[in-house]
Amino acid sequence: MPGKLKVKIVAGRHLPVMDRASDLTDAFVEVKFGNTTFKTDVYLKSLNPQWNSEWFKFEVDDEDLQDEPLQITVLDHDTYSANDAIGKVYIDIDPLLYSEAATVISGWFPIYDTIHGIRGEINVVVKVDLFNDLNRFRQSSCGVKFFCTTSIPKCYRAVIIHGFVEELVVNEDPEYQWIDRIRTPRASNEARQRLISLMSGELQRKIGLKVLEMRGNAVVGYLQCFDLEGESGLVVRAIGTACTLDKLSSPAAFLPACNSPSKEMKESPLVHPPSHGCRSTHNSPIHTATGSRLTQNFSVSVPTLIYTGMGSGSAGKEGGPFKALLRQQTQSALEQREFPFFTLTAFPPGFLVHVGGVVSARSVKLLDRIHNPDEPETRDAWWAEIRQEIKSHAKALGCHAVVGYSESTSICEEVCILSASGTAAVLNPRFLQDGTVEGCLEQRLEENLPAGCGFCHIPYDELNMPFPAHLTYCYNCRKQKVPDVLFTTIDLPMDAAVIGKGCLIQARLCRLKKKAQAEANATAISNLLPFMEYEVHTQLMNKLKLKGMNALFGLRIQISVGENMLMGLASATGVYLAALPTPGGIQIAGKTPNDGSYEQHISHMQKKINDTIAKNKELYEINPPEISEEIIGSPIPEPRQRSRLLRSQSESSDEVTELDLSHGKKDAFVLEIDDTDAMEDVHSLLTDVPPPSGFYSCNTEIMPGINNWTSEIQMFTSVRVIRLSSLNLTNQALNKNFNDLCENLLKSLYFKLRSMIPCCLCHVNFTVSLPEDELIQVTVTAVAITFDKNQALQTTKTHAEKSLQRASTDNEELLQFPLELCSDALPSHPFPPAKAVTVEKASPVGEGNFRNRSSPPCANSTVGVVKMTPLSFIPGAKITKYLGIINMFFIRETTSLREEGGVSGFLHAFIAEVFAMVRAHVAALGGNAVVSYIMKQCVFMENPNKNQAQCLINVSGDAVVFVRESELEVVSTQQPAANCQPSCTGGEVTT
């Protein structure tokens, strides 16, 4: 009996009126765990009952503790008929199962009902007494910590990063055809909520077991997803990165507010991991694929592209003595792993050696019923196949590992697209294994890793490249080769040398497809996929060039399948990496060069493109230092050098002929306009409107070039559904509709958040789905963070001179810019100058400033504030404790859609309720924020004819306790805050 769960029901408040006659309620509570149920007394005639129950004690296995949620049901007692359920609360007690997290769950929980939403609150106290059990055959994995955060959590240190863990469980879906069936209200949706709660508990436990097997103690970057496969069942799957984490005993030194919080990791000292001797390497999926099952399934594997610069992948060869050594070493560390994948997107310093490029794989499958839920081998085999493909793609890039790895699905009827993507990389082995593989190479490795550009250096052999690419010597260290463009799925490494600011770049694409059944449908989809990938890639490349940037981070390509179309949406953050060459411009070439008016049109377009590039460079402050040839002095081939210089000239001129000569076929990015389609493409390039003045956006954790965040944050979710008119369903019209949908959505966000200027939308996460024939749904979750414009003169440590340059131009540029644009044809920066402009330049440093902003005018609120953010940190604050993972699944349904304000009213209320329930659970754990928050699913269905709608939402994140730096300040004011603050020294005096 390894655990005792204790529950006390204290009180209720704001209960709904259940008895019309008395306008009151006779409420009591059922507390259920596993198969045991307790009941409180009935508290007569009150909407605010005080049960103050005894402690209900459940003696259970720790396996059950992990799997089962605590179920609390509030009912209205009825003497004559059946008791009416008011609503339920599911409490995941997992956070109580490991020692460092929460010790008690206590607080007000919203009582939730799938039909009525939140109906009052209940005050519950939950405790667990865990007995130590050293049974080595145990099935539980209590004590393994889970984090959604895709980097090493702030108050921990990574001793070993073991690697990939994955698991999936399947079950029958209690309800999938909700609209067509006659059923008792809420019964089946409640069964569904309960089942998913149970399944995710089980999944987490199984993943935990694998982690223990690998001798890890935590899972970082834990991502759990549901596949609602309809008829064929329900799949819950999860991936993560197993780690051995050490809690940092003494809180890390005080960090000034101006520092980007991720720098905290710097403080984790790199200690060689203790030797564990021989270790089990068994981390393969338990279930192995059986041939007989596979043959029943129609499956198409889609040839996929490897994104680095351009071109698609083919096998690469080993080469270069140093690389070979490095490879050997890493290989030995990684070869024991079936899949050397890491779900992390940010890494401890020194972990990431080189980045190859994005690798992705997709496969189209036909779903059929899962016959035996206990053996989900088909799904396992599918994923194994895809992962194998990813692995071989990475190999082709000369990499042995994949970082920033994620998996997703898109399901329509019986067709399912499985996707996986990541960034091929070469890793420093010392984090991966025990000390045995470490040798003298270690030192050499260190020496060869110049700060700020090492990760850009190509991992593959330049003489035998896996794809055609242009290599140059690194613009930073001049020693190693770098590609001309770099695409990755990870966050920008914090030591990366970046010029200027970054921006959100999106590629959007729709393709019509014929309606078809089964195999024919799957074939049609898999035929379309490569073209979509190619076009998405081209769009991304064009837009990146148009921004004058040379690298993409956080790339996420989503391909969604619908009845009659496919949608592709790629989001990434473009930056200018100092190590990579200046991107060439975009050149337009006409097909019929003799037509005079056509020629004119082309040159007009060309001019427009050149103007846009110049404008973007100014907007994002991209002023790479001019490098004279003497300094270079490296064996870069002459012709290449010349072409680069020529290009920089020609960018400012309109002489197309000269461009042609200088760029050659290789270097320039030539867009050939040979038909109207291509024309449309070029036009669409130019329609993307930059965010209004004072706004920046990115889909990574932090915005390159901004590191003076103030403490005001606003996380939000926005959902839009549009109905396409079926008349004009052409690819072009579709593309335009989709493009407008996304652009309008962004415009709305900028408008709504205008009071926060200057601010940055971080971690902008778009998801697109096709819920019905002519419906497109786009869901966006992001966080807006304010920053202090007057401290934008921040230095990048490694680039002192650049920062000086920037510092001198920064303010003028920002102020001039709106004026310049107003006279232009392009939509200008409409928002009035932000309030912060008026703040004096000599204002005190960060802490002083944000103290003013953050302190609420009055603090007598009875409900504690819980912050939510998709980022792994809270600006201006320090996370002191991780309380456990929040993973919640809700279903809301209605049979009175019109009365609830239509679809918008229904979903608006539901999302607000979901936020409230997340906040309540975090508060009950003793936390005051959720970090790495993500809305993984928002499946909305409606049937307006029946006045019905239903929505499923799945959210997760890490509950944490944070402390404002201004509160820490007292302790640490003595510590120098000015060393990173050259522009503000002396600012203190003015306070």
Binding site: R13, H14, R720, R723, C858, V863, S904, I911
Partner: protein, 389 residues
């Protein structure tokens, strides 16, 4: 391309004060007839209907110049307005019982914003309150809101909100003991100023004072609220301070109802005008004291008996509910109008009333000094407030 669904939900609920005002003022957020004129080119194309339409609220926001300020489009404005309107509709239920707004978990709103939401929701229009002040807050009055809306130019929706607010506050504090203002503040979390105004509204509604007569039109809500406060302080049961020990649960509500006993006793004051000697003595005392001090001395001397009769008779009649209701009509007819017709300056009115009240203490034959002070102390304040153009 039609927008089927369009929502924005923030972890901290966004409140736009301007949109809140439009919502409170009852402008429709949904497609509807555009109030007033069309605005230059700023129309939203509704794809489904194929017609150019814009809601009243959006049209008003457009008129405020927000599009020029921010560079947003009318479609963005429409979407933003609808988000706010939905939020306000969801909040309205909570605003009906403001303490709920503080304890609810669904909307994370900073306390200062919560206070703003409540205060604005319970704010009312002067024009509206003058129409319903002293009327019974019943269904019947609610039916008249149409006319009030037409008359005042306040939207029917806004009229309904204001009326329902009055009624809701009335219902909640009606049965309560203790200070009216405190009760209102505690249950509706209003500012002191607004709570006092509501106390006046509730007090007037409860006693059904007539305020709508033509001759009372010159009086503002502030005038009545001032009088109500004085009357609550001095003429109600709660004012005497005996009620807290009153064991009788059937006792009148302390601040809402006038002290019946006091009203009965007021009959005793009649002697001041009925007894000719007393009246003459009173007059001579006042005249002696004021000779040379009043600009309108001769008019006062000539009118003294009429004025005194008027004031004392008002007191004596207060035993009848009907006459209580007409209190303000009587005061204006019997005192304010005569003074006005003789062009009494306000300062003279003050001097006269002070002397008129004080002189009674020197009337040896008059035994109801305390009663007189309770009556006249309040009345003097009220009359001074009522004497203006």
């Amino acid at each position: 391309m039609t927008s089927e669904l369009d929502i924005f939900v923030g972890n901290t609920t966004l409140i736009d004060e301007d949109v809140y005002r439009l919502w409170l003022d009852g402008y429709s957020g949904l497609w509807g007839t555009v109030c007033g004129c069309r605005f230059g080119g700023a129309v939203v194309l509704d794809g489904r209907a194929g017609r150019a339409r814009m809601s009243d609220a959006v049209a008003l926001r457009v008129r405020s110049g927000i599009l020029e300020q921010t560079g947003a489009t009318a479609a963005v404005l429409q979407s933003d307005t609808m988000d706010h309107y939905r939020t306000f509709q969801m909040l309205e239920r909570l605003l009906h019982a403001p303490p709920k707004l503080l304890h609810q978990l669904i909307f994370q709103i900073p306390p200062s914003r919560q206070a703003l939401l409540i205060e604005r929701y319970y704010a009312f229009d002067e024009a509206f309150v003058r129409e319903v002040l002293g009327k019974k807050l019943s269904k019947g009055t609610k039916k008249d809101l149409d006319d009030i809306s037409t008359k005042t130019g306040i939207t029917l929706k806004s009229c309904r909100r204001q009326f329902d607010n009055f009624k809701r506050v009335f219902k909640v504090v009606e049965e309560m003991r203790g200070s009216l203002v405190d009760n209102i503040q505690q249950h509706f979390l209003l500012s002191d100023r607004l709570a006092r105004d509501y106390a006046a509204i509730v007090f007037f509604a409860n006693n059904r004072f007539e305020t709508g007569k033509k001759k009372l039109q010159y009086l503002s809500f502030g005038d009545f609220a001032f009088c109500a406060e004085l009357m609550i302080q001095n003429w109600t049961l709660g004012a005497v301070g005996e009620a807290p020990t009153d064991p009788d649960p059937q006792a009148d509500d302390m601040d809402m109802d006038l002290d019946k006993e006091f009203l009965q006793d007021l009959k005793e004051l009649k002697v001041l005008v009925a007894d000719k000697d007393l009246l003459d003595l009173h007059k001579s005392l006042v005249c002696t004291a004021l000779r040379g001090k009043l600009g309108v001395f001769s008019e006062m001397e000539a009118n003294f008996k009429n004025l005194s009769r008027g004031l004392v008779n008002v007191a004596a009649k207060l035993t009848h509910n009907k006459d209580v209701r007409d209190l303000f009509v009587d005061l204006v007819e019997k005192f304010v109008e005569p003074c006005r017709s003789d062009h009494w300056p306000l300062n003279d009115v003050r001097l006269f009333l002070n002397q008129y009240s004080a002189s009674v203490h020197s009337l040896d034959g008059f035994r109801h000094q305390a009663l007189w002070d309770r009556y006249m102390g309040t009345l003097r304040g009220c009359l001074l407030r009522l004497c203006h153009d």
